[in-house]
Amino acid sequence: MIPTQFEYVAAKSLDEALSLLGKHKDDAKLLAGGHSLIPAMKLRLAQPQVLIDISRIKDLSYIREEKGQVRIGSMTTHYQIESSDLLRRICPLLPETATHLGDVQVRNKGTIGGSLAHSDPAADWPAAVLALDAEIVVAGPKGERAIKADKFFVDLLTTALEQGEILREVRFNTPQGTVGQSYVKVRHPASGFAVVGVAVNLSVNGGKCQSAGVGITGVAPKAYRASGVEKALQGNALDAKTLSVAAAHASDGVDANTDLFASGEYRRHLAEVYTRRALGTAVSRAK
């Protein structure tokens, strides 16, 4: 369980990290909380020659709301999100998602940016950022670009991040009006990761669904927005029938993962059942 040798550099600023990344290219890896990367290095699945530690860059760690947008710095830890009073008030979906993630020690160290960049198919954050229709802001040698969450997750452990780029921020519009959110998860009994995880962000007007964001993780090689579910909710009265009809679309067009713990068929079944539950909880919370 000893990784191969490497050189360690703690970057003091985003610019320094970008130039180190430019210099070392594929030989280097960014180190955030290290809670996906270090286990992979111990197994020698990752063997970087240079580790650029970005977790100590102070101005990458923040949660704030400005001009109707919530902004979360990439090095914000799972625990900082879990314990944020601001988020509990304006976007409880994120603290709720955090409480389902790993354990106390993992949440103290792991970061939202590291999790999104890693894009584990069973990670929790991807579902939440998809449901919130968030943008992922990345900094690169040529400046910044913002990528819509549903364009960010490309495939298994693959994102739209390009060589030399650093995930800097997650941002999304502050949920407005009557909002109901929820995250439900079937935890893998050993790893704690999501066998299925469903995040829901509804905005409700006069008992009807004004807009719906539904993100699903664990089911497919990458987390996805369940657009079939969203469409079936839009504009309709949020009664039991609508929710059941909508949830039936949870894995439309998805090639579901099969592993030792759950077959693809079982995952699709869980996706429907847990989407129904997540929707029900979100509707009951809408106020």
Partner: protein, 162 residues
């Protein structure tokens, strides 16, 4: 290829040179001889290696010692202030929160973190908080009782202080 670090462990400052790939748990056990921190799985799952870094419970098998330059670490050896057991240690003693004791240092460090954040936890909250710590002996029942006992002790202490 060694890197200089400066780490304060249980109030004592240590300067040294470490290979960047040295895990914190090996630094504590092998370089500093603080063998109270145990290695159960070395795969981030069991929590036996839990220590506090700058007040946060972390698994010391999932950090490199170099990441800690300038940090403060508390291990099980540093929890008893001036020889007086920490309330969580007393709780484990009084309620027999252990059998073989292998998981205990990690359990205690995590429990200390749980109580710092939530002085009055339910049994359910204690169990959720200890999800990252595995015990193959006790069945957890006595561990939960030990943490509840510690919570009471800490509360009565703050009540006296007031």
């Amino acid at each position: 290829m060694k890197t200089k670090i400066n780490v304060t462990v249980n109030g004592v400052s240590h300067q040294g040179e470490v290979e960047p790939r040295m895990l914190l748990v090996h630094y504590l056990r092998d370089a500093l001889n603080l063998t109270g921190t145990h290695i159960g799985c070395e795969t981030s799952l069991c929590g036996a290696c839990t220590v506090l870094v700058d007040g946060l419970a972390v698994k010391s098998c999932t950090l490199f010692a170099v990441q800690l330059d300038g940090s403060k670490v508390t291990t099980i050896e540093g929890l008893a202030a001036e020889g007086k057991l920490h309330p969580v240690q007393e709780g484990f003693w009084e309620h027999h929160g252990l059998q073989c004791g292998y998981c205990t240092p990690g359990m205690i460090m995590t429990a200390a973190q749980i109580l710092e954040r939530n002085p009055d936890p339910s049994d359910e909250e204690i169990r959720h908080g200890l999800e990252g710590n595995l015990c193959r002996c006790t069945g957890y029942q006595h561990i939960v009782q030990a943490v509840q006992c510690a919570a009471k002790k800490m509360k009565s202490k703050t009540a006296v202080a007031r």
